[in-house]
Amino acid sequence: MSAITRDEVAHLAKLSRLALTDDELGHFATQLDVIIGSVAKVAEIAAEDVPPSSHALPLTNVFRADEVRQSLTPQQALSGAPAVEDDRFRVPRILGEEA
């Protein structure tokens, strides 16, 4: 049974800004199906005494004190940027959205 449709893969690809070909849509739909099936198997094993986990370490409340530390210089910060203007990161035209 295919739980993941080609349309869903196309939607995900759009959200992830990935350009997939028609062939790839089918290819990834099958692969994602397998992945989701595997995760579902884990979910079957999880019993009520096993709480859901999002972290490998049994830790909570790891905080830092509110202290200012040295930042980078703008030169350092921008050194890896593909394009720079006025000490800012220059990015291509943003389409379709307004913020």
């Binding site: 999002s54 909570t60 509110d66 202290e67 200012v68 040295q70 291509p92 943003i94 307004e98």
Partner: protein
């Protein structure tokens, strides 16, 4: 754009509001790294590998931001989560270099609270859905095109100083039953929220600098019908705009609905100049953000003892404080509301603390100073005068060294930056005439105004006003009018 007049719209529809408020916390460092948070720094001077999302960097949560958020939750009568997590909100937009924003999704730090606001003597309870913690985004500038907006721009440039500053989002539950008061209730909620943030000292809540901003949701339905489709007006940056955006959206939606059209669920942009909104983008579904718990951050489980301590050490909340002050100052509901709306309560309180009687403190701030603030279009609190200055002027009036007119001149001098009350008085020679000077002036006035003097002598006491006026004029405002009247009546009896 076609609209239906507000009153007509309210005859047919009931509005449902929802408000989302973003408050930038006033921590010294960012939410997940040690970069400074000052406003107005040179571009990209408050950035580091973590807030620029360099590979290998890891976020660590700022304890002061967690504490401030819990205190906000407690002040808004919320429950505090025993355990919650940060989540990644995934989207592609260059305002966050990570391609996600660290936020909270289904496990907010605080939830299920309320805030009571008063409008026109009536109390409206605004229920709070959640208070959660996230990080602010960077600031984009759009280059090219005519408008400086994204549409038509050739490219954008981004400053990440703001990216990663702790940002609290306060979300109301749908607010119903406000009817025609909806715009005022929305505004009053915003104002009260700002008061609370101030009393907690968690943010500078400078709306002009974006450290407090609102998203305003509005829908309309006919009485008894299910709620309508809502629109969300983003980044509304003043209380006046909150009020106007609610009003404008009610008028716009009412027109569409009465014309048989549908409301599209979308974000809209508010325009200060016209008070109207225009369409933005269709609202994403929450699932499009593919939220998931951030594996770089461990869960937060606030120690109940810590939360109890924070609860016990909350400051007196603004609404409670106002009730206390109103009773201490013996002022009417109306006068208290006027002071609240003018932002005068803290100023009056500080002036009283500096030694002025309550009535005098209120008189100066709500009279002469309110007038001056109004004239110059500034907020009362932004006038260049301190409560200490006002208390000193009030003291000098009480002791008889200044009359009302001289006191106003002294305030004018202080506002003009001429120095403290005493310095202005010395520089301008604002000293009430002494008894000897006063007697000399009065004798001259009586000699020059024999007709009026004769009238008073013959029992027409009302004519004394003209003589007192002449004394005030001759002394160039420096006479004590009350004392002058006494002396004149004595001399003419």
């Amino acid at each position: 754009m076609s609209v239906i007049a507000f009153d007509k719209a309210l005859e047919r529809f009931e509005p449902v509001l929802g408000l989302e408020t973003h408050v930038e916390l006033g921590t010294a460092s960012k939410m997940f790294c040690g970069c400074a948070t000052g406003f107005g720094a040179e571009p990209n001077t408050q950035v580091c590998p973590t807030c620029l999302a360099f590979p290998g960097s890891l976020p660590v949560a700022n304890e002061a931001a967690i504490e401030a958020t819990i205190r906000i939750g407690l002040a808004l009568n919320c429950s505090i989560a025993e355990w919650c997590r940060f989540a990644r909100k995934n989207y592609f937009y260059p305002d966050m270099p990570k391609n996600y924003q660290i936020s909270q999704y289904d496990e907010p730090l605080c939830f299920d609270g309320y805030l009571d606001v008063e409008v026109g003597g009536q109390t409206y309870r605004v229920e709070i859905e959640r208070v959660h913690l996230e990080e602010d985004t960077g600031k984009s500038t759009h280059v090219g095109g005519a408008t400086g907006r994204i549409h038509g721009a050739d490219y954008s440039i981004v400053d990440y100083n703001r990216a990663g500053i702790p940002l609290v989002e306060i979300v109301t539950k749908p607010i119903t039953g406000t009817g025609a008061m909806a715009p005022e209730v929305a505004r009053a909620y915003g104002v009260e929220l700002r008061e609370i943030m101030r009393s907690l000292g968690v943010s500078d809540v400078r709306m002009d600098q974006g450290s407090m901003r609102f998203d305003v949701n509005v829908s309309l339905n006919e009485p008894g019908a299910p709620w309508g489709t809502r629109t969300e007006t983003k980044n509304v940056n003043s209380f006046r705009s909150v009020e106007r955006s609610v009003r404008g959206e009610i008028e716009r939606q009412a027109f569409l609905l009465t014309s048989g059209e549908k409301i599209i669920q979308e974000t809209r942009h508010f325009h200060e100049d016209t008070g109207t909104t225009t369409s933005g983008r269709s609202k994403e579904e929450a699932q499009d953000y593919r939220y998931f718990p951030d594996p770089d951050l461990v869960p937060i489980a606030p120690d109940p003892t810590w939360v109890a301590t924070l609860r016990d050490t909350l400051p007196e909340l603004p609404s409670v404080k106002r009730k206390r002050l109103q009773s201490e100052w013996s002022v009417s509901d109306h006068d208290m509301e006027s002071m609240y709306n003018a932002g005068a309560i803290d100023l009056v309180e500080a002036t009283i603390a500096a030694g002025a009687p309550a009535a005098d403190a209120r008189k100066w701030w709500m009279g002469e100073l309110a007038r001056r603030a109004n004239e110059s279009g500034t907020a009362l609190a932004d006038l260049p005068i301190t409560p200490g200055d006002v208390a000193r002027v009030s003291e000098l009036v009480a002791s008889g060294s200044l009359n009302d007119k001289l006191a106003r001149a002294a305030l004018e001098g202080i506002l003009a930056g001429e120095g403290s009350a005493d310095e202005v008085i010395a520089k301008r020679g604002l000293q009430i005439a002494d008894e000897g000077e006063l007697l000399a002036i009065i004798d001259q006035v009586l000699a020059d105004n024999t007709d009026a003097a004769e009238k008073v002598r013959s029992g027409k006491v009302a004519a004394v006003g003209a003589l007192v006026g002449a004394v005030m004029k001759a002394s160039r405002g420096k006479a004590d009018a009350g004392r002058a009247r006494e002396i004149i009546l004595e001399k003419l009896s």
